[in-house]
């Protein structure tokens, strides 16, 4: 199914990022991004700022370098992009080695776990090119293993990250109140350019007090082994694509729906949508064969998933709702009643596209209501 090219109504700078988010899949898209990058009036400051905001600088760098645009991009910018890509590749190497070390440590304790998000995606969805930005390593475990894993991680040299935080007590309280994760963990490493490596261990596919739940134990029963680039014969456990998809989309839903992520400055960005697009493209046969639908219906997560895919299709001209036959799902009114918490989407009324481009999303928070309780 062909995808319409991004329109240029938000400027060539934004169209470049939208193309990179979707992934360049054919000659037409390759030509379009080349033309956009060669636009005379291209605002490089805007391209770089938005790439940073959406964690896509290494991807932009790779596109420019692999397209042979060395002498078409301002030299100082090209050199910084080269450095950014190289640094990201070094970081990923560190993360791969540490992932394997932790995975072997957990396996030796008999823990069932998977590696999720960035480190799982970069070698598959992003081809192991070192272009997927990440700042930590994500694992998923069953809630019953929290204490064993905490102890194993301490044995591997990790300490709660809040010890390094600006306000350690705030971080500590926050982690205790959100038992969907272990406290964020970090280990000091002797690596130029990286002081610590951080590991995030989740024990829920959703979040604390979520109205949606998919049992982690069920998802962990269905693991696949994934090779680690550059480490022959070594593999890591990951969710099979169906659970990877559910987890990734629900994660995006949470970040897109809840006001608090806007307040934190960590709400949804282009890269997360790019993950979903690539997951579907790479695994569309498995995702469309009916098993996914059965699991989503069994756990009542069809609406949040469809809500995300609707925004994805509207923003990136994809056809994911149709592919997964979810066109009739994703009712926002129903989701509002299920979520019952402060929702950014209700307050903003923006399209997802405008929201993603906006640099000031926090400004649309509804005014504090008049005193109405107690």
């Amino acid at each position: 199914m062909t995808r319409a090219l991004p329109d240029r109504s938000l400027g060539p700078e934004w169209a470049i990022l939208e193309l990179l988010t979707r992934g360049i899949v054919d000659d037409t898209e390759q030509q379009m991004i080349r033309d956009l990058l060669l636009t005379d009036t291209l605002n490089w400051g805007e391209v770089l700022e938005q790439s940073l905001r959406h964690k896509m600088l290494p991807m932009l760098a790779h596109q420019i370098i692999s397209a042979g645009l060395r002498f078409d991009v301002p030299t100082s910018i090209y050199m910084h992009l080269e450095s950014a890509l190289e640094w990201n590749r070094c970081q990923i190497e560190v993360f791969r080695r540490e992932t394997v070390r932790v995975a072997q440590g957990l396996a030796s304790c008999g823990i069932h776990f998977v590696v999720t998000k960035g480190i799982a995606f970069e070698s598959t969805l992003y081809g192991g090119l070192g272009t997927r930005y990440m700042n930590d390593i994500d694992f998923m475990i069953a809630p019953r293993d929290r204490e064993t894993v905490m102890s194993a991680m301490q044995g591997l040299g990790f300490r709660p990250f809040f010890e390094w935080a600006k306000d350690p007590r705030r971080e500590e309280i926050s982690s205790r109140l959100n038992p969907d994760h272990l406290p964020k963990l970090a280990r000091e490493i002797d690596q130029p350019g990286a002081r610590t490596v951080q590991v995030d261990v989740a024990n829920s596919l959703t979040w604390t007090k979520s109205p949606f739940a998919v049992p982690v134990e069920e998802a962990l029963e269905d693991r696949v082994e994934q090779p680690v680039p550059g480490m022959p014969g070594v593999s890591i456990s990951c969710f099979r694509p169906i659970y990877q998809f559910i987890f990734t989309v629900l994660h995006l839903f949470r970040e897109a729906w809840l006001q608090k992520f806007v307040d934190f400055g960590t709400d949804v960005g282009l890269m997360k949508f790019g993950d979903v697009i690539r997951l579907i493209e790479r695994n569309h046969d498995e995702l469309a064969d009916g098993a996914l639908m059965q699991i989503m219906e069994a756990h009542n997560v069809t609406h949040p998933v469809a809500w995300v895919l609707r925004h994805l299709d509207e923003t990136f001209h994809t056809h994911t709702l149709e592919l997964l036959t979810l066109e009739k799902d994703g009712d926002e009114g129903l989701l509002r009643s299920q979520m019952q918490s402060s929702a950014y989407v209700r307050a903003s009324g923006q399209s997802m596209r405008a929201r993603l481009q906006s640099k000031n999303r926090g400004s649309v928070r509804p005014a504090t209501p008049a005193h109405s309780g107690s």
Binding site: R170, I173, T208, K209, K260, H371, G373, S374
Partner: protein, 84 residues
């Protein structure tokens, strides 16, 4: 021990956007007064600073701050522990 009501309520009002300025209903769920996961952290931190206490791990659970009454009770227990 001193009556902490005024300081306690002032502390709640700093964070709960739906709390009335004149009185706090001690039986109402704090979620109905605007408490969410972010403000819960802020309220607990503020209570610790205001009253010179520290919530132990076993008190860092939702039950501790489900209502203003429960939270005030927890603060009083910790103040008494500290005093003794």
């Amino acid at each position: 021990m001193d009556d902490i009501s005024a300081q306690f309520e002032q502390c709640l009002r700093r964070h709960l956007r739906l709390a009335k300025p004149d009185s706090i209903n001690y039986d109402m769920e704090l979620a109905q007064l605007g408490l969410d996961s972010m403000t819960a952290v802020a309220v607990l931190l503020d209570m610790e600073k205001t009253f010179g206490i520290k919530f132990p791990d076993d008190m860092l659970v939702e039950g501790t701050f489900r209502t203003a009454g429960r939270l005030k009770e927890a603060v009083q227990i910790l103040r008494e522990r500290k005093a003794s």
